[in-house]
Symmetry: C2
Subunit: 450 residues, 2 copies
């Protein structure tokens, strides 16, 4: 089914065949010799198909009215193009005009170039531009690669609820959920910030699981790297320690990068041009070959202290890193993605496994050039007495976590997991600058078109 | 990575090899000859691995304390079993006890059988039972098959927002979303009931797209077939009419059924036994071979009128079908899944394309034995003037749908799509009776454990 698309034509699947294509006009050019050239796009790839229309077709007059954005159905012969750039083109035999553009001068996505800020205001139409469609196809490949990788490695996909009474991180700002019916739910309910706590219970029976879905933060972070609604994949593995999941994260990123380069190179190349970032493909290739830089939090502190004059925020042991620190480590010092391990207990969540020094936890943050934290993960505290201590230290109610404690009471196992912020990862892969441009309908503070 | 699991052992990948497995004790049996037998499960499949432990291992005394639910790590030799039923077993060389069960008599998931009602109260532990783990693995395969099918057919996965100001169906009971920060969003916001309207805008540029994620209904429907939070896949195709998407839906269901039967037959067989439903596999096979029964709404009315004495609710042209009608058509009359098309305009949503009779719309509902509606879809109204009429007829504000109308103003195309309620589909495949048992953490009225 559905084999006929411009991507497949460009790939040569229909050479010298008469077929019918459907799509939208990108541009129209008329020669003085009574020949018109239409560039047609159907979204299957970044390339347009050039269609050559001679003035002897019956509705040639109508063709001359076609403008950017009109929808058409064209039957004709696919031939090898004489020009080098376009490998294949179509000689039209008939053109059916399906939908015109009402008042072309006011068409919001005219052929001229538009700023990304402007395009955010027409989020229902911006997918008609090259850049947003390229990013959307890359996003599709990233999402697909995640599932493929998990499947190859025998992980079971477990969906975790969006509506929850849990605050996974213990300190997040959450959205509240309510129904018209009073007490629809028996408890106060919120939008989830992470599926981790839920999925731990499934890891403690199925061994290798992951959750994949949207998560929510109601924080007042109106930056180019924050969304109120974003997508995460969170693998969780029983009988695994911190080193195991760092290796898993590394293999997963390598797999995703390879998959995108193999399947959407032309879209990536368009992003390189659009963002004027020639390093984009190199840094993906470099990671595929070399993987992470591995350092401990202590080592990171040591490096940053040496270069402390470069930063606004002071570096002391126990502090959390801000973007300037992260960017220094990734962009300047290592020129690569960096995995930082063993953070101070005081700045991390209650569920992370306390190291023998009793000061640090078996946590990792993976930070990437320009975008900062892409992955956060940890080995989970599997010892009931230590977990209870941590809950107390963080002023969390032991009673609320009764079920989470059950997992430690009944056949507890060491287990570990992490979450990848997928929009951040797509920023990294595409070189886009604003996270609102790598998700179809962004939700961030003040930001909700419809 | 992660090759060693009981599924692969049972499949013969480790014959005569010394390996280390990790999992949980299902049962322990001790023979008088000083040999103990452990059944170990790691969640990778329904089968347990039998481990034979002789009393000459150093910690044999500890082995004798193992109870259901304890976690262990066992190294030993995988050999072909002499008994027929278990193909492979392990001769233990060392057993490391990782986590005991605290107070085994109170262990909520003891070796005896538990009712599904009881298990819902321990939703963090019920995955440790055979039935819930079988259903969860089948669910995983259904979800995976959806993505595989979409990919094979060149669909682009487009995520649509959970937080929205839209009411897609025009009459749904929606959950409200609020933040602590006043006016976090510039509009009143809700949890989405469907991604369709959003994804239409992407179909009108990328041609073939789908959204896949959780959707929400705040309806007071406290039945065994309704959830407040459930998962839908919604393909949307440009240049496609109702017949095209009925064909797509048929191929998709066939693909999913085949995938599940090929990959999780043992789990399906367990469901057959558990639900005492011998017809389960037959009806999947029957559908794979024969596809849908196709009838129009008018034909359905004709059939039901003939058998009107069987129903509580009267049958008149213009009525919506209730479960008793649907079950009669699927269970009794056709004994198959039925696709019903061309419903009265008055009982369907504003966005469906009006047929030439001006009384019916190009809609389809696909209903399955026992579970009722599994798929709902339609050709969308692509003509601006007809769309405006429908909005008026349904008392919806034309102003609110400004952006949706833009899709018809600028290069409109015929397009169609549908949504599959994935939990309903899993009910059908597994023969389970309550939808709360086919989703990891059910959310329905009054229902939110944590």
């Amino acid at each position: 089914m559905y084999k006929i698309c411009i991507k497949n034509i460009i790939n040569g699947l229909f050479k010298n065949q008469n077929i019918t294509i459907r799509g939208w006009v990108k541009t129209r050019r008329d020669s003085k010799l009574g020949i018109s050239f239409l560039s047609i796009n159907d979204g299957s790839c970044i390339d347009n198909l050039q269609v050559v229309i001679k003035n002897n077709i019956s509705n040639y007059n109508e063709i001359l009215k076609l403008t950017t954005g009109c929808s058409v159905q064209i039957s004709g012969l696919v031939i090898k193009s004489l020009k080098e750039k376009q490998n294949y083109e179509m000689q039209a035999k008939s053109v059916l005009i399906i939908g015109l553009v009402d008042n072309p001068r006011n068409y919001p996505i005219s052929a001229k170039s538009h700023s990304l800020e402007y395009l955010r205001q027409v989020s229902h139409l911006r997918i008609r531009t090259n850049i947003i469609s390229a990013v959307t196809r890359i996003r599709h490949e990233v999402f697909t690669a995640v599932h493929n990788f998990m499947n190859k490695n025998n992980f079971i996909w477990v969906t975790t609820p969006i509506i929850t009474s849990l605050d996974t991180e213990g300190y997040s700002t959450m959205f509240s959920v309510s129904a018209n019916t009073k007490k629809f739910f028996s408890k106060k309910s919120f939008l989830t910030v992470s599926g981790q706590l839920n999925i731990e219970s499934y890891a403690c029976a199925l061994s290798k699981v992951y959750t994949f879905g949207p998560v929510f933060r109601a924080e007042k972070s109106n930056t180019s790297r924050h969304l109120a609604e974003f997508w995460m994949v969170e693998p969780e593995i029983a009988f695994a320690n911190l080193q195991d999941i760092i290796l898993l994260a590394e293999n997963m990123l390598k797999y995703i990068f390879k998959h995108v380069l193999n399947n959407r190179m032309k879209d990536i190349e368009f992003c390189v041009k659009y963002n004027n970032n020639k390093n984009l493909i190199n840094r993906l290739g470099n990671f595929i070959n070399n993987g992470f830089i591995h350092i401990s939090y202590n080592e990171a502190i040591g490096i940053l202290k040496k270069y402390k004059n470069k930063f606004n925020k002071q570096i002391v042991w126990g502090c959390d890193f801000s973007l300037e620190h992260e960017n220094y480590l990734t962009n300047e010092y290592f020129k690569n993605i960096v995995a930082i391990t063993n953070y101070p207990k005081s700045i991390k969540a209650f569920y992370m496994r306390v190291n023998d020094d009793n000061k640090t936890v078996a946590a990792m943050d993976i930070i990437a050039q320009d975008v900062g934290e892409v992955i956060g993960g940890s080995q989970r505290e599997d010892r009931l007495n230590k977990l209870d201590l941590c809950l107390k230290e963080k002023n969390l109610s032991i009673k609320n976590y009764w079920w989470y404690r059950d997992l430690r009471k009944y056949g507890t196992v060491p287990h570990s997991g992490f979450g990848i912020g997928l929009e951040r990862l797509i920023l990294y892969i595409t070189g886009m600058h604003n996270i609102r441009d790598v998700i179809p309908f962004p939700r961030s503070m003040y930001d909700i078109n419809f």
